[in-house]
Symmetry: C2
Subunit: 207 residues, 2 copies
């Protein structure tokens, strides 16, 4: 599958690109800055330049699957939360529909569908992520929404705990999140599903 990775240069994005390669997909890393290209070229990964605050429809040609892993992050200005996490995500979904993309996997965040339980400082971020996820559910795309708990940099274990809603705000290695996302890309029984995911004992390939 030719898979456009939006936000490829992010911390989870880079793991996603690796996992796509390991699973015989062809990742296309969308990056904003030409300086970000060599990292991927050196790994034999195709890149496409695209700015999420501009028109990036050119990136969608010959793409079978899209992974949206871009994020302004919860600690940038909230104007970027609207422009990137919410609006660029929705724009990606519109383009994916227009181009007939077969699968769309969203890197969301735990509590995006329950912003009211989140800490006050993150509420606006959770609402914006939640609106994007809600938009995705309203499309005719074959989507999966993955909502990880707190992201940490530890090595992946290949195992997680996934459920529609998880009450703890436990952590999960970014590498395992990437594995779960790449798994979801071809797991037909996960189409139309949204789930929380933290560290646990379930082999990711059995999700």
């Amino acid at each position: 599958m030719n898979v456009l990775v939006i936000g490829a240069n992010g911390q989870v994005g880079k793991h996603i690109v690796d996992k796509l390669q390991e699973n015989d997909h062809t990742p296309v890393a969308m990056v904003r800055d030409p300086d970000q290209v060599p990292y991927f070229e050196e790994r034999g990964v195709k890149t496409v330049l695209g700015d999420l605050e501009q028109d990036f429809r050119h990136a969608f040609y010959h793409i079978d699957g899209v992974i949206f892993a871009a994020g302004s992050g919860p600690h940038t200005g909230a104007d970027k939360t609207i422009l990137i996490d919410q609006e660029a995500a929705i724009r990606s979904m519109e383009l994916a529909q227009e181009f007939g993309v077969k699968r769309f996997v969203m890197l969301s965040t735990i509590a995006a569908d329950r912003p009211e339980i989140g800490p006050q400082a993150l509420k606006h971020y959770l609402y914006a992520k939640g609106r994007a996820d809600q938009y995705l559910r309203s499309t005719n795309l074959s989507y999966t929404i993955v909502r990880p708990g707190g992201l940490i940099d530890e090595e992946g274990t290949g195992k997680v705990y996934a459920a529609e809603h998880i009450s703890s705000m436990d952590t999960i290695p970014r590498e395992d999140v990437a594995s779960a996302i790449v798994h979801a890309l071809t797991a037909d029984h996960l189409v139309g599903k949204s789930f929380d995911v933290i560290s646990g004992d379930q082999p990711i390939e059995q999700l």
Copy 2:
């Protein structure tokens, strides 16, 4: 008509309350802060305390029409743009539907349906306002969306220029915006309509 004015203490909100009284409606001013109550009580206007970042469903009992005139404004933190301009607006629409409210008039802003033409510094604000307006269009409410140009404090003239899209970013007195909103509240031919409005030569009552 019993009309809940959300954001009654704002600069446009106060004019809206006045115009409602002049037109024999019964405004109910929703305000966050008890200190804001006396201003309205002294004018014989009912008030209800409600915080847009909390649950405010109690404000919707015995209400026939809702005017959403609250705004964090384009110059507050963008987290509030999400929480107030987008999310509290959408929550108001959900409650209006739940309570069977007859009319809903939204104070939007010019270019909310065309954020891409807006200045960079306002884009996130325009997108958030636009998402709220888009949500309103998806409801079964009898709504009108009023999108004024630059708001100024001059005395109202009773005349405006209104059109689906206006290319100039001209100004309009807040008092005239309030008059147009209160007019829209009972103008059946404006149900389901969205329009830009700036100063001009059309009598507001003929909109």
